[in-house]
């Protein structure tokens, strides 16, 4: 591998990422499945980096999942997105900051559509006005939340408590990065590092001391694919796509998988459980599975937030082996205590995937 070749590509694909005053928009999947991840993102921006971030309780889904499963028409999608933009203007903000890669893809696609087909934008203005009485402007800056963590990766590194170095062996941790398809595959110039060799997560791993592993199926879809998962008859197709990735990364013995997309994060984590239960196979050596982290969760760990505050107990593949490698001090007894100290109860243990109580 010639890293200088990658650096050349990375320098070709740099994008504008706002410095402050973010209008934050949640992800349907992430806020449901890993609410701690979104919470920790806001805390890092506000408490660690001192940024101004707001969100509106009135914002809705972008309807991306419905759009991609063809139950929401394009006109509806555009109007819903325009309404979310209007809410940002109401709040006096200009930098739109979605937490979801599907949404980021949707916003990018719509802004590009309006650029090339202004009549679509005019139509959307009319629909929004009729439906809600609102008017909207395009955001000044559109950056995914992983872009923002990327932009401040060195500041985070300076304030970090832990690095991505294996405390036992002294070696850098081996990380496979997985980028959501809609982050840059549709519009390579809108992703940090482009579509073929994205730098948005690799840059974090580099900055925090780890080593990125480039495995053959890195560019392959996680398997979500919307209707491929949502329709039960297609689910074998979805899990097979994830399996192909796990098989491809297995020989590289990654310490964890780092993702930037809520769907990918969900499927790469949960399908490891399903594969273990269906086929008795895990893709690490010890039957633990390969931990899957989002960039905010990883940033939170590096900065020294408590793993259970970050919400890592919500993962199907347990993260404790990784915490040990990073030398993170954590209290196993707090794993299933809620934020108020209330006992959440112990989940059922899978048959073929180690569960750390």
């Amino acid at each position: 591998m010639k890293v200088e070749g990658k650096r050349k590509i990375w320098s070709d694909y740099q994008k504008d990422i706002a410095y402050d005053r973010f209008y934050y928009v949640r992800s349907c999947i992430r806020q449901t499945v890993w609410p701690g991840a979104e919470n920790i993102y806001l805390r890092i921006l506000r408490e660690v980096l001192g940024k101004e971030v707001i969100e509106s309780e009135h914002h809705t889904t972008c309807t991306g999942i419905g759009y991609h499963t063809e139950v929401v028409p394009f006109e509806t999608l555009q109007t819903v997105v325009a309404r979310n933009f209007a809410l940002m203007q109401d709040a006096g903000f200009e930098n739109y900051n979605p937490s979801c890669v599907t949404s980021f893809g949707i916003y990018t696609e719509i802004l590009d559509t309006w650029h090339h087909f202004p009549e679509e934008k005019q139509k959307t203005r009319d629909y929004l006005k009729k439906a809600t009485g609102r008017e909207f402007e395009e955001p000044k800056n559109l950056a995914h939340t992983s872009d923002v963590i990327y932009k401040f990766r060195n500041e985070i590194s300076e304030k970090s408590k832990y690095t991505l170095i294996n405390k036992v062996t002294g070696e850098p941790l081996k990380v496979v990065d997985h980028i959501g398809c809609h982050y840059a595959k549709m519009f390579p110039a809108k992703g940090v590092g482009g579509a073929e060799y994205p730098h948005v997560l690799a840059g974090l791993v580099e900055a925090w001391g780890g080593e990125v592993i480039d495995y053959p199926e890195r560019r392959h879809c996680c398997g979500f694919g919307f209707r491929q998962y949502l329709v039960q008859a297609n689910r074998g197709y979805s899990i097979s796509a994830s399996k192909k990735k796990f098989e491809s990364m297995e020989s590289f013995k990654p310490d964890f998988i780092l993702t930037n997309c809520p769907g990918c994060n969900f499927f790469m984590d949960r399908w490891q459980y399903a594969l273990a239960e269906m086929e008795g196979k895990t893709y690490d050596e010890n039957g633990n599975g390969i931990p899957v982290l989002t960039y905010e969760e990883l940033a939170g760990l590096v900065l020294g937030f408590d793993p259970w505050v970050i919400g890592l107990q919500m993962h199907q593949v347990d993260v404790e082996p990784l915490l040990v490698k990073m030398g993170i001090d954590y209290d196993p007894n707090q794993k299933f205590k809620g934020i108020n100290g209330k006992d959440l109860g112990l989940p059922e243990s899978p048959n073929n995937l180690n569960f750390i109580k």
Partner: protein, 109 residues
């Protein structure tokens, strides 16, 4: 094992790292005209068997080159050995001999 109501799917990809090219190598060694196909389809278009079955000499050779040997051997049974394809082939592939070699490999196996 748990049955969730769906299964993982077998791969549809030609994995050339795992393909069994033994038959291809032995046929090529015994009759190197096997290598000369340019996939023009003259053999199939003139084929007596191909008019009534899905037999394609070109496709059978291709299957051997991808290690799909059992399919190719089964296909070879459809040939009537009339020899029209040998007349038609612009690259002078000795098609009847290739069929003979495939069938011989079947007996050896």
């Amino acid at each position: 094992m748990v049955n969730f109501g769906y299964t993982t799917l077998p791969t549809h990809i030609h994995d050339m790292d795992k393909a069994d090219l033994g038959l291809a190598d032995s046929i090529s060694f015994e009759d190197s005209s096997f290598n000369l196909c340019i996939a023009c389809g003259s053999c199939t278009s003139t084929c007596t068997a191909g008019a009534f079955t899905n037999f394609s000499f070109r496709q059978m050779c291709h299957q051997i080159k991808r290690g799909e040997n059992s399919q190719a051997i089964a296909e070879s049974e459809k040939c009537m050995l009339c020899g029209k394809c040998t007349l038609a082939c612009p690259r002078n592939v000795n098609t009847r001999n290739i069929i003979r070699l495939v069938r011989k490999a079947n007996q050896t196996i």
